[in-house]
C-alpha cells in the first residue's frame, strides 16, 4: 500500500520534472527518458533501540530538553575513556556481504515482485552532537543529547535503479529492524536516516560520477530527492556539463537538492585504531571457546535462533496459510496489529471464507482508519468488534454499506460492539422476502420506462432499479436477495 502510494507520487513528480528538463532537450530534438539509467547506493543510519548510549549510561529519549541527556563521558570530559572523538567500526564491521530481499512494484505492471539488495557491510557507530553557529549573535551553540547514541550503519551496494526500488528497500529494512526490535524506525524522529548516492549513466556504460544526498528523514524525501537528483544530473550531462562528486542536502521546501560544498567535501577523517576498546568478538556454535563465562560471549547462532519471524517469512506464511495475495500479505506485514487482529478472527471463527476477513480488514477497516489519518493500533478497534463485523457480513446480516456506517460509529466510540450499534440504530439488513418483494414491486411500478428498457434488452439499467430499492431501504437490504427477487419479477 505504502509503496504504491509513493509510486503514484513518484510518477506525478517525474512527469513534472521531466517536462521541465525535456523542454531544453526538445529544443535539440532528443528524447531523454529512455537514454539514461539511474544507479543508487544507500547508507542507512539506524539508531539502536537502547535505553542508554553506546558507551555511557545517558538516556536516549527523543526530544528531551537540550543537553539533558549528557554524561561526563558524552561531554568528553578529560579522562573519560574512550571519548572525545567519534567511534566507528570502519575496518572491522560486524558483518559483510549480506543481502535483504524486499518487494518492489514492477515499474511496468505495478505488480509487487521480490528483489534482492546486496549489503556491503553493517557496523556500529556513534551518533554525533549538533552544533549551530548563530551568526547574528556571533556565538556557537551545541546540543550533545545525541552524542554517543549507538547507531547501526548499513551500507548497500550501488545497485538500486529507481527511487521506488530504493524506497521499497528502505521500507523493508525499516520493517525488519522494527520486527527484531533493534530500531524503532521512526524516520521523522531521526531514528532512521538515509544517505543516498546517486549517479546516472547511459545503459552499459561504466558508473557515472555520483553525488551523495545526506540525511534524508522520510521515505518520501528519499524518493523525491533521488528523482530530482537523477533529472538534475541528466540535464547537466545532456547540456555537456560534468556532475560533481559532492555532498548535497535535500531542501524540503523546494523539493530540490542543494550542494553542501563547504561543509563536507574531501573530508579526511584521519581514522585511527581505538585502543580503549578491546576487540568485540563474535562466535558461532563451532567457535565458542571453552571456559569463558557465557555472559561474555556473543554467539551469533544463538542470537539467530532467537529472531522472530521476519517480514519475508511472514508474507510467505500468510500466502500459504490463508491463501492471501502478495499484496494483501504485504499490507498485513506492514500493519502488524491489524495482522494480529486478522489472525485472531480467523482462529476464533469458523469462517467459510478467509477472504471475507482479509477483505474487511484491509479494504474496510484499514481504509477507514487511514481516512482518519490514524494508525490501526491507535484506533481502539478490538479484534472482537472487527470479528463481529466479519461475522455479520458473512452471515448477510449487514451489507458493506452498513458496515462502513458501523465503522464510523465505532471509530467515534470504541466502547460499543457492532451488534449493539445495529440494535440501537435499527440497521438490520432487510432480508424478509415479502418486505423485499413489496419494495421491488413499488420500484417497478414507479419506473415503467426503465422496466420497458430492460425488457427491450437494455440490461444495464438493472443496476439502477436495484439502486432504487437500496435507496428505499437506506442501503440496508440484502443485495443478493434483492437481485434475485428483482430478476424474478422482471423476467416473468
Amino acid at each position: 500500500m505504502v509503496v504504491r502510494l509513493f509510486m503514484r507520487q513518484f510518477q506525478h513528480n517525474l512527469i513534472r520534472q521531466l517536462k521541465r528538463y525535456s523542454k531544453r532537450a526538445a529544443l535539440k530534438g532528443e528524447r531523454l527518458e529512455s537514454q539514461w539509467e539511474t544507479v543508487i547506493g544507500l547508507e542507512i543510519h539506524a539508531q539502536i533501540s537502547a535505553k542508554s548510549k553506546l558507551f555511557s549510561g545517558s538516556g536516549t529519549t527523543f526530544a528531551s530538553p537540550i543537553n539533558s541527556m549528557v554524561s561526563f563521558f558524552d561531554a568528553s570530559l578529560p579522562g573519560t575513556l574512550p571519548a572525545g572523538y567519534q567511534i566507528t567500526q570502519q575496518r572491522c564491521p560486524l558483518a559483510k556481504d549480506g543481502h535483504v530481499e524486499y518487494l518492489a512494484p514492477d515499474e511496468v505492471h505495478r505488480k509487487l515482485v521480490l528483489k534482492r539488495a546486496r549489503l556491503t557491510q553493517l557496523q556500529l557507530e556513534q551518533d554525533s552532537g549538533k552544533s549551530l553557529h548563530d551568526v547574528e549573535m556571533s556565538h556557537s551553540l551545541i546540543d550533545l543529547n545525541r552524542a554517543g547514541i549507538g547507531l547501526m550503519e548499513i551500507i548497500t551496494e550501488p545497485e538500486f535503479c529507481s527511487a521506488v526500488e530504493a524506497a521499497s528497500f528502505v521500507r523493508e529494512l525499516q520493517l525488519i529492524l522494527q520486527v527484531i526490535g533493534v530500531c524503532d524506525g521512526k524516520m521523522e524522529e531521526g531514528s532512521l536516516r538515509v544517505d543516498a548516492s546517486v549517479s546516472v549513466r547511459r545503459p552499459s556504460e561504466p558508473l557515472g560520477i555520483r553525488s551523495e544526498i545526506k540525511n534524508l528523514n522520510s521515505i518520501r524525501h528519499l524518493m523525491r530527492s533521488i528523482e530530482f537528483e537523477t533529472l538534475r544530473q541528466i540535464s547537466i550531462l545532456e547540456s555537456g556539463g560534468q556532475v560533481l562528486n559532492e555532498t548535497r542536502a535535500y531542501d524540503v521546501e523546494t523539493g530540490e537538492t542543494v550542494s553542501m560544498r563547504d561543509k563536507e567535501r574531501l573530508h579526511d577523517y584521519r581514522f585511527m585504531a581505538e585502543p580503549n576498546l578491546p576487540p568485540l568478538r563474535l562466535y558461532t556454535n563451532d567457535t565458542v571457546p571453552n571456559g569463558v563465562p557465557s555472559d561474555q560471549i556473543i554467539n551469533v547462532d544463538e542470537l539467530r535462533a532467537m529472531l522472530p519471524e521476519l517480514p519475508n517469512a511472514k508474507r510467505e506464511r500468510l500466502k500459504k496459510q490463508y491463501g492471501l495475495s502478495v499484496e494483501h500479505s504485504n499490507v498485513f506485514v506492514n500493519e502488524p496489529t491489524l495482522l494480529e487482529c486478522f489472525e485472531k478472527i480467523v482462529a476464533n471463527q469458523n469462517l467459510q471464507n478467509v477472504k471475507i476477513a482479509s477483505n474487511i480488514c484491509i479494504n474496510e477497516v484499514l481504509a477507514a482508519v487511514n481516512k482518519k489519518n490514524i494508525a490501526f493500533s491507535a484506533s481502539n478497534l478490538s479484534a472482537e468488534s472487527v470479528g463481529e463485523l466479519v461475522e455479520l457480513v458473512q452471515d448477510e446480516v449487514i451489507s458493506l454499506l452498513t458496515l462502513r456506517k458501523i465503522l464510523e460509529v465505532l471509530l467515534q466510540d470504541s466502547s460499543k460492539l457492532p451488534k449493539q450499534v445495529i440494535e440501537e440504530r435499527g440497521w438490520h439488513q432487510v432480508s424478509n422476502e415479502t418486505a423485499l418483494e413489496n419494495i421491488c414491486c413499488q420500484v417497478i411500478a414507479a419506473n415503467p420506462k426503465v422496466v420497458d428498457d430492460y425488457r427491450d434488452g437494455k440490461t444495464k439499467v438493472f443496476n439502477y432499479l436495484i439502486g432504487e430499492v437500496q435507496k428505499k431501504l437506506s442501503g440496508q437490504s440484502n443485495v443478493k436477495a434483492v437481485v434475485r427477487i428483482m430478476k424474478q419479477k422482471l423476467d416473468t
Partner: protein, 537 residues
C-alpha cells in the same frame, strides 16, 4: 619521620604515637619549605588537614587500614572531584572535574590524605617537567635554597627569588623555553631538572612532602624523574591499573605510575590500586593477587638479562659503572646474569613518536573550548572559535604533536606512518616475549643515560630532541605493556642519584618487585637528607 616507610608510619598512627593531623602538619610545613622547587600546581593544606582529622577519628574508631592518614599527591593529570586538574596547560587552567579518577577514588576511600596536585609537562608531553604552563620543576638534589643562598657571602640580594618565579609561573606566565631562559639568566644558582613528565610527583616524594605520589607513565614519565630524584618509580603492567580519569596522552601506553621512597611503599600503593575497573575496558578481569614481599628479599636463582642494545651512545660512564656494579652484586647474590639482545630497541623511539603524535592528534580533539577549558574571544564562526581557543591554550609542544599526528593520519600517509609504526611496535614487543620465552625472568638496564642534567643545559634543545634522548631506555616497556621499575642505586660523581631499571613479565609484579627489593637491600642507597639541604648546616 621522613626516613620511615608507609608501614612504619601507619604502625605509629595505629598505636597512637603519631596522629594523622601531626603528620599532615609536618608535610604542610615541608610543602611550604620547598615552594621554590615549584612542585605543586595546587596545594590543599586545609582540605588535607580536614581529611587527616577524619582519618584520626576513623583510626580511633578501629580502622586499621594501612593507608589511613598517609599523605599522598597526584600528578595534575589525574581527575580530582572539586579540585582543579590542569594538566599544566592553559587549556585546563579553570577546569574542575566533577569526578575522581578511579585510582584517586581508591586511595582517598582508603583514608589517604591528598596534599596537592603536582607539576608536570603540559599534558605530560615532555621528559623534564620544564614545559608546563606553571614553569619548571626543580630537582631538590644539590639545590641551593634561597634561605641558604642569602646567608652566603656574594649572593645577590636583589636577584629575583625562585619562589617568586614559581609563583608567577602559577599565574600562567608563559613558560616558553626562551622566556624561562631569560629568567634563569638572572638566577645565579645552577639547578638540575627533576625529569618528567611526572617531575612534581617525584620531587614531592623525594623532598618528603608526601609519602607516595602518583605519576603517569607513557614513555617513561614516572621512571625518568624517579631516577633523577633518587626515588622508586613503578610502571605497572598495562591493564592492571585503571586509567579512568587519567587524562590520556597515548591510550595504548599510558599507565598510572607509582612514586615512593622504597619498594615496600610501592607495593602498598600497587596493592591498593590494582584490579579491574568497569570504566576502563582495558583493565584485565583476572582478580589481582596482592603482592607480598618478604622482609629480606632474595634474588637467588633469578635469571637476569642484560640487553646489549642498552649500551647506547651517550650513556654516562657513571651510569655504565653502576649498571655493571649492580649486575655484579646480583650475580654474587645468586642470580644468573646473562647478556641478551633486543634487536629492535633502536627503532622504539621513532615508532613512539609516530604513535604518540597520532594519539595526541585524536585525544586532543576534545579540547575545543566549548564544553570546558579555555575559550577564546573569537566567535565569528565555530571553526574560528576552535582554532583560536586551541592556539591560545596549547603550548608549542602540544601543537607540534597535534600537527604531526594529523599529518601521519592523512589517508595518503596512514600506511606509511601509522600502520608501519604499529608493525614496528609489534616487533619491539616480540623482542621482549622472545627474551622471556628463552628463560630470562627480568631485564636489568639503566633508566636514563646518566644523572640529572642542569636546567641550563637541558633547555638548550627543544622538547622533541630531549625526549628522543631521555626516553630511549624507558620507552620500549610502554610499547610492550610490560611492568618496569626504576630504583636508585648510587650517586654519580656529581653527587646526583642514578637509577637502574628492572623490566619484568606482564602481570608478574610480584617477581619484579621482589627482585627490586633485593637489589634495594643490596645497594643500600641513601635517600636525600632533606634537612641538611634545607638548613645547610
Amino acid at each position: 619521620m621522613f626516613a620511615a616507610n608507609i608501614k612504619q608510619v601507619a604502625a605509629l598512627m595505629q598505636n597512637g604515637q603519631l596522629s594523622a593531623k601531626d603528620l599532615c602538619e609536618l608535610c604542610i610545613k615541608r610543602m611550604k619549605r620547598i615552594k621554590e622547587l615549584n612542585v605543586f600546581i595546587t596545594e590543599m593544606p586545609d582540605l588535607a588537614l580536614n581529611s587527616a582529622c577524619a582519618a584520626d577519628r576513623r583510626i580511633k574508631n578501629g580502622s586499621g587500614d594501612i593507608l589511613e592518614g598517609i599523605p599522598i599527591a597526584f600528578k595534575d593529570n589525574f581527575s580530582t572531584a572539586g579540585i582543579r586538574t590542569s594538566c599544566a596547560s592553559r587549556m585546563l587552567k579553570g577546569y574542575v572535574p566533577p569526578y575522581n579518577a578511579t585510582v584517586v577514588e581508591k586511595l582517598i576511600s582508603r583514608g589517604s590524605v591528598l596534599m596537592g596536585k603536582t607539576n608536570m609537562d603540559e599534558f605530560a608531553m615532555g621528559c623534564g617537567s620544564v614545559d608546563g604552563a606553571f614553569g619548571p620543576v626543580r630537582n631538590p638534589w644539590k639545590y641551593r635554597f634561597e634561605a641558604t643562598r642569602r646567608d652566603r657571602p656574594g649572593a645577590a640580594q636583589s636577584s629575583p627569588s625562585a619562589a617568586r618565579i614559581a609563583d608567577r609561573g602559577r599565574q600562567f606566565h608563559s613558560a616558553s623555553p626562551s622566556q624561562c631562559l631569560d629568567v634563569e639568566a638572572d638566577d645565579s644558582a645552577e639547578w638540575f631538572i627533576a625529569g618528567g613528565s611526572s617531575g612534581g610527583s617525584a620531587v614531592s616524594v623525594a623532598s618528603g612532602a608526601v609519602l607516595a605520589a602518583l605519576g603517569s607513565d607513557t614513555g617513561g614519565s614516572t621512571r625518568n624523574p624517579a631516577s633523577y630524584c633518587g626515588v622508586v618509580g613503578l610502571k605497572p603492567t598495562y591493564g592492571l591499573l585503571s586509567r579512568h580519569g587519567l587524562i590520556p596522552l597515548v591510550n595504548s601506553m599510558d599507565v598510572p605510575g607509582i612514586l615512593t621512597r622504597s619498594v615496600d611503599d610501592a607495593v602498598v600503593i600497587l596493592n591498593a590500586l590494582a584490579g579491574h575497573d568497569p570504566k576502563d575496558s582495558t583493565t584485565v578481569f583476572e582478580p589481582f593477587k596482592p603482592c607480598a614481599l618478604p622482609d629480606v628479599a632474595s634474588i637467588k636463582g633469578l635469571k637476569i638479562g642484560i640487553p646489549q642494545e642498552y649500551h647506547a651512545p651517550g650513556l654516562s660512564s657513571d651510569m655504565k659503572d653502576s649498571w655493571q656494579h649492580v649486575a655484579d652484586i646480583v650475580e654474587n647474590a645468586g642470580a644468573t646474569v646473562k647478556r641478551v639482545s633486543l634487536p629492535h630497541t633502536a627503532l622504539s623511539i621513532v615508532c613512539y613518536h609516530v604513535l604518540c603524535a597520532c594519539e595526541v592528534a585524536s585525544n586532543m580533539a576534545r579540547y575545543d573550548g566549548l564544553e570546558y577549558g579555555h575559550r577564546a574571544k573569537d566567535e565569528s564562526s565555530t571553526e574560528s572559535l576552535y582554532a583560536a581557543s586551541r592556539h591560545e591554550a596549547f603550548n608549542n609542544v602540544v601543537r607540534g604533536r597535534i600537527l604531526a599526528g594529523n599529518y601521519f593520519l592523512l589517508k595518503q600517509n596512514y600506511d606509511r606512518y601509522y600502520v608501519q609504526a604499529q608493525r614496528v611496535r609489534r616487533l619491539i614487543s616480540q623482542d621482549f616475549w622472545n627474551t622471556f620465552r628463552s628463560g630470562i625472568d627480568i631485564l636489568l638496564t639503566p633508566t636514563v643515560l646518566g644523572d640529572a642534567p642542569s636546567y641550563r643545559w637541558f633547555s638548550k634543545a627543544d622538547n622533541r630532541t630531549r625526549t628522543q634522548e631521555q626516553d630511549v631506555f624507558t620507552q620500549p616497556a610502554n610499547m610492550a605493556g610490560i611492568p618496569a621499575i626504576s630504583l636508585p642505586v648510587a650517586l654519580s660523581s656529581n653527587g646526583l642519584p642514578l637509577g637502574l631499571q628492572l623490566l619484568g613479565q606482564p602481570f608478574k609484579e610480584q617477581q619484579l618487585l621482589t627482585a627490586a627489593k633485593a637489589i634495594e637491600q643490596l645497594v643500600n642507597f641513601r635517600a636525600l637528607d632533606f634537612d641538611k639541604l634545607l638548613y645547610c648546616d
